[in-house]
């Protein structure tokens, strides 16, 4: 029993097709609320955590413990005038933030969430190729960033977009190879290992223990995907103003900002799903979602710690790092996974 069927049962008096229609709509609404609340919570946690690490106090004026600060900030961003450049490429300029945000939301839609108490499975997308769908969805985000950079007609934005492309090209290949080695290992355990949910639920021990190199490569790739400090080449605010989002203000900038924090959360969830066992654990048919959230939150805190303690890497060094270190490591990991698959698991 999953959340869609529960909702469909609730709306059954409206008839077969109408009940499914309403169930899909309400599932989408619940899901969007979950995503937005988790993004707001992420930004709040980040600000408090950063403040504590820097021996400050952090937001504490709006609401109890500053809990309403982020809502106040969001209201401010919505109310702000959107200043747009005169020489922009209009459609691309306006579409770019939405592409980033939609890529993020679709990424959240596709990943499995495990079960939660009597509601049952919270997973939204049931597909046999959801792993491929997921990587396709998060590949939308850099398109939005590149469009934003090029359509702004601003030299800093263009440099930011170019750096973003250089970064994406150098970490995507190792990331995909380490994902392939996971699928390869899981193919010995199940028939539909491209299904994200089976890939997670058939992990008899977390794959991160079997493939530590793969975990390292994938974590680095997820950090680079969310583009925060060690790899924030495309934003690098001390060099090129704000990178691809230089010319954006108001809610359009807010979408980029939320996209960044959302991709940190999404990346942490995906790493915990693929490598740390995700929603597996004792009583996982009741509390699987809680396990996933706890693992995700711990990874988020580690990501923030990395963000706050490391300096930015230079562009050429990152490309060297991607092609000369991450790629060989991921290939070694692939060979190791093949050895494990043929020699141990099967």
């Amino acid at each position: 029993m999953n959340i869609l069927l529960r909702l469909q049962l609730f709306f059954q008096i409206t008839g077969h097709y109408a009940s499914y229609f309403l169930a899909y709509i309400f599932e989408t609404i619940f899901f969007l609320i979950f995503v937005v609340i988790s993004l707001i919570a992420m930004i709040y946690i980040f600000r408090k955590y950063m403040a504590r690490l820097q021996l400050r106090i952090g937001p504490n004026r709006v609401g109890k413990f500053g809990l309403l600060q982020l809502i106040a900030d969001a209201l401010k961003l919505v109310g702000k005038e959107s200043i747009i450049p005169k020489l922009r490429d209009d459609f691309a300029y306006k579409a770019a933030p939405y592409i980033v945000f939609i890529g993020l939301v679709v990424g959240f839609v596709i990943i499995p969430y495990g079960s939660f108490y009597w509601i049952g499975s919270l997973t939204i997308t049931h597909s046999n190729v959801s792993l491929i769908l997921f990587f396709g969805a998060i590949a939308m985000m850099p398109i939005g960033e590149v469009l934003a950079g090029i359509s702004s007609h601003n030299k800093y934005a263009v440099i930011g977009a170019f750096r973003g492309i250089a970064k994406d090209v150098s970490f995507e290949v190792p990331m995909m190879i380490s994902a392939v080695s996971l699928v390869m290992m899981d193919s010995a355990l199940s028939r539909t290992s491209l299904n994200f949910e089976t890939l997670v639920s058939t992990q008899f021990i977390p794959f991160g223990i079997l493939q530590p190199l793969g975990l390292f490569v994938f974590m680095v790739a997820m950090i680079a995907r969310s583009s925060y400090t060690p790899f924030d080449l495309s934003e690098s605010d001390s060099e090129i103003v704000s990178g691809y989002s230089t010319e954006y203000s108001g809610m359009r900038f807010g979408l980029f900002y939320m996209g960044m924090f959302g991709s940190i959360f999404l990346g942490s969830l995906v790493v915990s799903l693929l490598y740390l066992g995700g929603f597996n654990g004792p009583y996982s048919s009741y509390a699987g979602f809680i396990y996933l959230l706890i693992k995700g939150l711990i990874l988020v805190l580690i990501s923030f710690l990395i963000w706050l303690s490391m300096p930015r890497i230079r562009v050429d060094r990152f490309i060297n790092f991607g092609w000369k270190i991450l790629l060989p490591i991921s290939i070694i990991n692939l060979i190791w996974a093949g050895f494990l698959t043929l020699g141990v698991i099967s």
Binding site: Y49, A51, R52, L53, Q54, L55, R56, I57, N60, L305, I306, L308, S309, M310
Partner: protein
């Protein structure tokens, strides 16, 4: 040419050490002091506002003479004080006072002295304190 031996470096160790150093700060107390609600520590010998005990003042004008930037002016206040026949009392301008504490040092009767009180901000265009105001605490002056 002198060859400098670089120490053998293990990859990622430096980054992990940095992360550990940053993480340790999570368990330390914040340095920030939320000023109006919490008061920061003030050293014991720190003094700021000048107080005056009008009964002890003899109107000798020494404080006016010793004040380096003319913050103290003697003014006449009609008051029945047998020690102070000329009815001269100091009026202090805190806008220019540099807290040099010369007046406190020179005063023969210890009528003028400095205290720990330091929050003198108020909605007024000057910082002149009349002799009567110098006798009161800051909260009474603001009323």
């Amino acid at each position: 040419m002198i060859e400098v031996k670089e120490p053998k470096r293990i990859p990622l160790i430096g980054s992990l050490q940095g992360m550990y150093t940053v993480f340790k700060h999570l368990f330390k107390k914040p340095i920030t002091v939320q000023y109006p609600e919490e008061k920061a520590y003030t050293p014991a010998r720190f003094k700021f506002r000048i107080f005056l005990s009008m009964d002890d003042c003899v109107g000798c004008t020494l404080c006016e003479q010793v004040c380096p930037n003319l913050s103290i002016r003697m003014i006449v206040v009609e008051r029945n004080n047998p020690h102070n026949k000329r009815n001269l009392y100091p009026q202090v301008n805190f806008g220019t006072c540099t807290v040099c504490r010369n007046c406190e040092e020179i005063c023969p009767t210890e009528a003028i002295y400095l205290t720990h009180e330091l929050e003198t901000a108020r909605t007024k265009n000057n910082f002149f304190y009349s002799p009567e105001e110098l006798e009161k605490t800051e909260s009474e002056v603001k009323k």
